[in-house]
Subunit: 341 residues, 3 copies
């Protein structure tokens, strides 16, 4: 039921990534250090590990009585959200405040761009206000890359960009917090089988997770879902496609459930929510096919009764709330690493 990935020569390790990234990866500076976080694609394993290790130290900060460190004191972090996402904005706002930064939230959907100003004019203006970091969310894939490219052309290498989700393309901090979660519970990556279940086609989370899991060397990645929600090129990414949920979950160590966007349902790609649940919803019965110690992850917000049964969501194998906790620590790690480089 699961089809094998078509192997591409050279798509198998961090060595090549490291090499090529030094030359043309816009995320790395000339020393090969992280200066923007745009996508997990192209990040060498050393940098992924550096982020996860740094996050581990910040996790202790959030547990302290005074949950603040002065690493970004006096820095101005701008949350520039061209697409509304209260939850993601909140996680970055908390992370920046715990690093003692000044945080300014720009709801760009209501501002000058509506008056006809271009994206790059907005960026230039914020840079002129001495912004130190942009956290960017945009409905268009590639928008953060456009900003990074522009900053390079105007010579502002001291301003950093974090991609907080661009179109269907990438959501790197979600990918990183998923890796943190897996490493925390499974103590490593190499022997794992990971199933990503749901709407792979429209998911920037799935894309980020697949890149990260490949770089960190998991044994097998499975993309599980109906063929209509499977991207054309997913097998080329080294992923096994499974259209059958039972087959996809069998003996896996990690189950990453994706959120089913409401707007996809009752459309041409999908039958009703009820039919989706009966085929691809994670229930205690289907989860029993995975290993006994398999963990269940979800990026939130959950559609209970659509992609996941409440019994599983609230059950002992779910690590969905720890993901949120780790997400703050990972965002603190990314921001402090960028500001330090």
């Amino acid at each position: 039921m699961c089809s094998n990935p078509k192997r591409r020569g050279g798509c198998n390790g961090s060595g090549l990534n490291m090499l090529s990234s030094l030359h043309k990866n816009p995320q790395l500076n000339t020393n090969g250090e992280l200066t923007h976080l745009l996508s997990i694609h192209g990040l060498p394993v050393e940098i992924l590990t550096q982020i996860l290790d740094t996050a581990s130290s910040f996790l202790k900060v959030s547990d302290r009585d005074v949950k603040k460190v002065p690493l970004l004191r006096g820095k101005s972090v701008f949350n520039v959200f061209f697409e509304n996402s209260t939850r993601t904005r909140t996680t970055f706002e908390i992370a920046a405040k715990r690093l003692s930064a000044d945080v300014i939230n720009l709801d760009v959907t209501r501002s000058s761009t509506a008056k006809g100003e271009t994206l790059l004019d907005t960026v230039d203006n914020l840079v002129a206000m001495h912004a130190d970091m942009f956290v960017v969310r945009h409905a268009a894939s590639g928008a953060p890359y456009l900003i990074v490219d522009h900053l390079r052309r105007v010579g502002r290498t001291d301003v950093h960009v974090v991609n907080a989700g661009d179109g269907r393309h990438s959501h790197p901090t979600q990918g990183l917090l998923d890796m943190y979660t897996i490493r925390h519970y499974k103590k490593g990556f190499t022997n794992l089988t990971v199933a990503i279940v749901g709407d792979i086609l429209h998911s920037r989370v799935a894309r980020s997770d697949i890149h990260a899991l490949k770089t960190l060397g998991v044994a097998q990645i499975r993309a599980v879902g109906p063929q209509t929600l499977m991207p054309a090129d997913v097998e080329k990414m080294g992923v096994r496609v499974c259209n059958d949920l039972q087959e996809g979950l069998r003996d896996c160590d990690v189950v990453i459930m994706l959120r089913l966007q409401n707007e996809r349902m009752n459309g041409v790609l999908l039958p009703s929510a009820r039919e989706y649940f009966s085929s691809y919803g994670l229930t205690p019965e289907t989860l029993a096919l995975a290993k006994d110690d398999a963990i269940v992850m979800h990026p939130g917000p959950m559609n209970r009764g659509v992609e996941i049964d409440s019994e599983v969501a609230d059950g002992p194998q779910a690590v969905i709330l720890p993901q949120v906790t780790f997400g703050i620590a990972v965002r603190m790690a990314v921001m402090s690493i960028l500001a330090g480089n």
Copy 2:
């Protein structure tokens, strides 16, 4: 014109409240200390007095050149408003910032709950982000209780909840600032006659004030307004009902005017705003029936010319703006007491 309250056995003191609250009052911890503020109903007089005394010390902080104390430094306070209220949110935001907390405003009307996430999933997520305190406003009576009950079940006794208004039920910080105001100007409660005037039926402020005044032992509480805006059970709360304004105001020490919601007017419950004003609007003439040193209170925002005449609102007996000042101090007191317990 005023009808006498039907006395209920045992509804007369703080002793019973204290006793029962130790066992089942979700606002108090096992030591009988305040750990959430949900409602004034059920709070013993000792705790009300503790809050008012603490507020008194914070009043001095707001008068200083540097209006901050470090009591909540490094704590994360979330203003979770399921119902828009800029004014109330602002008072809590100021109070938390003056305690040096990090404040995150969540306009939940625009966020994930709109994407189908449940109230408790939102709460779980914020707790996972290491929230220390929730300030909750909700159109549904009882929503903050639901959150407190959930926190207890998941074992998070370190997270505190402040009810910033739930449906028609309760608005405890408004009740507390009203008590602070009365104590400030009248130096005590026991000999006072207090008239609450207006739309008692729909008012969470009235309900909170009545509970507080009963606990603090005022001599007489009068509910003044048209019978259509009088709750069925108000006499059972130990309150005299007066449908006639003149009768209700006569010789009283404190007049608490309620805001008339615009949406109530021109409906089945009420005639026009002009007719309401002529029967129940507080004017210099009707106020003259109260004691000479009676104070006039209003929770704001005022409808000048509807429930209150501008001459009274801006006159020497009005203590409406001091109420706002006391409100900041009371909210600082509540937050610091909760965080300390």
Copy 3:
């Protein structure tokens, strides 16, 4: 093509301003010091120079690693925006945070005023919350004056008001940052010819710039634009009117382009955007008529291809982004001067 201004006796210097301002200028306290910033009109040259000199010292703060000074620590600054302007609000928010103030943003378009509360009741409430400073944006000319007048009547001389734009009347911090920019690049004012180009009629920026340039003693001010967008009294302000762009730009030292409001176009006052650009758009060709070292300014956000060609906007003579940088320093200067007086 340019018509000469009609000279008015006494409209020529700062001496008269200084004298009269001590008696009735609501912006100055009894010592002649700045206590509110409402309009550049009526400010003596000494105060303009004090603001520009103070801004100069703050410019260095924004370049430091920790971009904060503790001058407003523990102060509460309220951004009270009765008209939405994300960009202007952001500049004041950054300026206040870099002075270490607590900043509270009030989107009044969504709050109690919608519930019928008056402007002055809102102000009274915020004063009762111990506000130290109001930054006010209002669609009605004179609204900030109304607030200042009210504060004086209630005896609150410790609360300061900054006008962040009122109707067509005034936008003094924009005027001040424009003066800072001119002084920075031209080292003085007395020998300069300054052309202000575009919709003079509806522009609070033009009005503020003209008052500032007069006070600072520039040699010549030209108002350049179609007659339909020229205020009736502009010549009385000591300004040359030029309906021809070429004539208006010839040999000038400074070109201040104004934003053409979209809502003006295709109306009775103006032909299409394309026709406007062909007559009054600033291009490399028309800019060549100005002095070789002329600078080009714009308050933003720009309409590229309407009032300004991209080649000019991004060219070597444009100082549009430095204006933004200077704007933060000027706002920090104004706030710290007000708080100190």
